[in-house]
């Protein structure tokens, strides 16, 4: 089974994302900020990270930069999922190592489409 780490400081968003990803056949773990997410990834790299941008402790941009510098850290597909919809910001996220970008609000079809494009469809 493919694994996904959902990183978001909102419990509601994590719950919504979890439901969508489980329906798409993923085993889901949750983290509420970048620090917690790094701890997960140091233990075992997931296939996919669904990543919020603005979070306390360590934000999404910082997280993806650190992840990509880790041994094996280039393996997970990283998909940002943020209210930030400025194109400059999206470019920055992609340049920092994100594979895809979803602007909130999102729905299951948008996530499924992005994962299909990344070759992670069930």
């Amino acid at each position: 089974m493919k694994t996904c780490l959902v990183v978001d400081d909102s419990r509601v968003i994590r719950k919504v994302s979890r439901r969508i990803l489980e329906d798409l056949g993923f085993e889901v773990a949750e983290a509420s900020d970048g620090v917690e997410a790094m701890a997960w990834c140091s233990a075992v790299m997931p296939d996919l990270v669904l990543l919020d941008w603005r979070m306390p402790a360590m934000d999404g941009l910082e997280f993806v930069k650190r992840l990509r510098a880790e041994p094996g850290g280039d393996a997970p597909k990283v998909v940002f999922c943020s209210v930030e919809n400025d194109l400059e910001a999206i470019r920055e996220a992609l340049d920092a190592g994100a594979d895809e970008y979803i602007m909130k609000p999102f729905d299951g079809a948008i996530i499924a489409g992005k994962l299909d494009y990344l070759g992670l469809a069930a």
């Binding site: 400025d86 999206i90 079809a109 489409g113 494009y117």
Partner: protein, 267 residues
């Protein structure tokens, strides 16, 4: 609920004008397609709109209703592998055959433009593809206006469009995402009913007509296929949707996509 005779009328006029197969039993579908038009035209309900259509409303309104019923579901890079294959495999072969003349590509029933723009973006990024002429047509004036504007909502640009394509080819314009003039200007638009005579539109090396035939009544789909065959240049290719039937005049030209060539005529 819309009365049965009104639903039968909508089905009949959609068939007569655009060859559309509308199931008169699907009250929900008819209601949801016509409700925006009823609001725009200040009718109190879809029933009131249909009543006006049936009792001498002007032709423009009847067409607007048919166009609303024809509304195709469209998104960027639908079946994205198909687009890569077109640009990497299919179009280079067509270009070689044209020997320096432009490759003419037509998106029939283009809706709000996401499909032809997906191809245009890839061609804009590709090197050495040669000269291309992109045409797109639709039954709906409203869809064409939106397509030509190249302005899409946040929801629309997230359906199928990779984020890298978004940042490369779009600019923010308030709440909207506007496609770059460079890509927009690659496409020429025209209102066209596929039921009309198509003999004046020239010939095309590649025709994209995906997920359209399935919306049509069988006779209408047959007529469209005949017309497409007539405007397909020698050696040209027709791309259909994965569930569309190509009929007897075409032969499958690729194992993993719904690409067809004209059946060679018996010598």
């Amino acid at each position: 609920m819309i009365p049965a005779q009104d639903r039968a009328y909508v089905a009949a006029v959609s068939l007569e004008r655009a060859g559309l197969q509308v199931d008169p039993e699907k009250a929900y579908l008819i209601d949801s397609r016509l409700a925006p038009l009823a609001r725009r035209e200040c009718f109190s309900s879809v029933e009131a709109l249909i009543d006006a259509l049936r009792h001498g409303a002007d032709d423009r309104l009847v067409w607007a209703a048919v166009e609303a019923m024809a509304l195709p579901e469209t998104e960027f890079f639908r079946d994205h592998r198909v687009f890569a294959e077109l640009v990497e495999e299919v179009i280079p072969v067509l270009a070689e055959r044209r020997q320096g003349e432009p490759v003419r590509i037509w998106n029939a029933a283009c809706g709000t433009g996401q499909e032809i723009y997906s191809l245009a973006m890839l061609l804009a990024d590709a090197r050495g593809v040669g000269k291309m002429e992109l045409f797109a047509s639709d039954l709906s004036e409203r869809s064409l206006e939106k397509a030509q504007s190249g302005r899409y909502s946040q929801f629309e640009v997230q359906r199928g469009l990779p984020a890298r394509m978004l940042v490369r080819h779009f600019e923010k314009d308030g709440e909207w995402f506007a496609l770059s003039p460079r890509v927009r200007q690659m496409v020429r638009w025209r209102r066209l009913n596929l039921m009309d005579e198509l003999d004046r539109i020239g010939q095309f090396d590649l025709i994209l007509c995906r997920n359209v035939l399935g919306q049509l009544a069988p006779e209408a789909a047959g007529r469209v296929l005949e017309q497409l065959e007539a405007v397909l240049a020698p050696g040209g290719a027709l791309l259909l949707g994965p569930n569309d039937r190509a009929g007897k005049a075409f032969v499958r030209a690729a194992p993993d996509m719904a690409l067809y060539a004209a059946m060679p005529t018996a010598a």
